[in-house]
């Protein structure tokens, strides 16, 4: 219960901001919070609260796993790397050969979300492969 109190502000915010499938469990001195945020901004806010309660995430007593709900209607994603090109790979993994690249800021086609980490995409040049989902932002 101590951990639930420590991160109460976070779980309260998750509820208030409309996180669905919210699960809060404590096991072996680690609190596990899972849920689906309605958008990326909500996820960022929750991580901001986490950083405030536990600066730099060093306590090791929370696993915050909030995914962002991507509507089935989303077909376009924007490449949101820091500045570099995004690798498009043959399979889902950095050990897979690179079959293409998408430029920073480029809008490409989302073919399917094959996993939470890797999405199947296609560039306007017709290059199709897997890209790391963290660097892709749905275009609504």
């Amino acid at each position: 219960m101590a951990l639930q109190n420590k991160y109460k502000e976070l779980t309260d915010a998750a509820t208030a901001l409309g996180v669905s499938n919210l699960q809060v469990r404590e096991q072996d001195a680690v609190l596990y919070i899972d849920g689906t945020a309605p958008n990326g901004s909500v996820k960022d806010q929750l991580w901001g609260i986490y950083d405030k309660i536990d600066p730099n995430f060093i306590a090791g007593d929370l696993i915050l796993n909030v995914s962002v709900d991507v509507a089935a209607t989303v077909t376009k994603v924007k490449v949101t790397t820091e500045s570099s090109n995004l690798n498009i790979r043959k399979g889902p993994g950095t050990d897979q050969p690179i079959v293409g690249k998408a430029a920073h800021g480029e809008v490409i086609t989302l073919v399917s979300q094959s996993s939470e980490q890797w999405w199947l995409v296609r560039t306007d040049d017709g290059e199709e492969g897997y890209a790391y989902a963290q660097y892709l932002t749905p275009v609504v």
Partner: protein, 163 residues
Amino acid sequence: MKLSKVLMAIAIIATVSFTSCKPNDEEIKSAIEAKLQSTAMITAATVEVKDGVATIGGECKDDECKTVCEKDVAAIKGVKSVINNCNIAMPAVVADAPVTITADDLLVKAVTDATKDFPMVTATVKDGVLTLTGEIKKDGLKRLMPALQALKPKKVDNKLTVK
């Protein structure tokens, strides 16, 4: 003598016809069951009727449901009194899904992918615990940590120096 027999016969007929106007226990029971089913407030309802005394049981969701059921039953023709043995259902406990921890082999691969763009970060995985060493900028940490915790490790032991 004759007159008294006639009177007796009338009395018997009257008694029989009078009692037959009142619903018997079986009929009352059926009426109660039909009523309770139509209200749909009570589940697993049981009904017994003896000499017009109705005993009802079952699961009610709250006190109000229990009171309403009793009133409904009491209003049925032929019911003299109601013994209300209904239970109030306990609020449903929503079972939390168990915590899922990614197996080490899958975790190692996923962590390699996630830390690829952070060459100063070293990540090791043992028994689901992800240990991070090296250094990182605050901006990078804010991007890396959500990606790592989404991989469902058991724990993240963050020993990174934040620059």
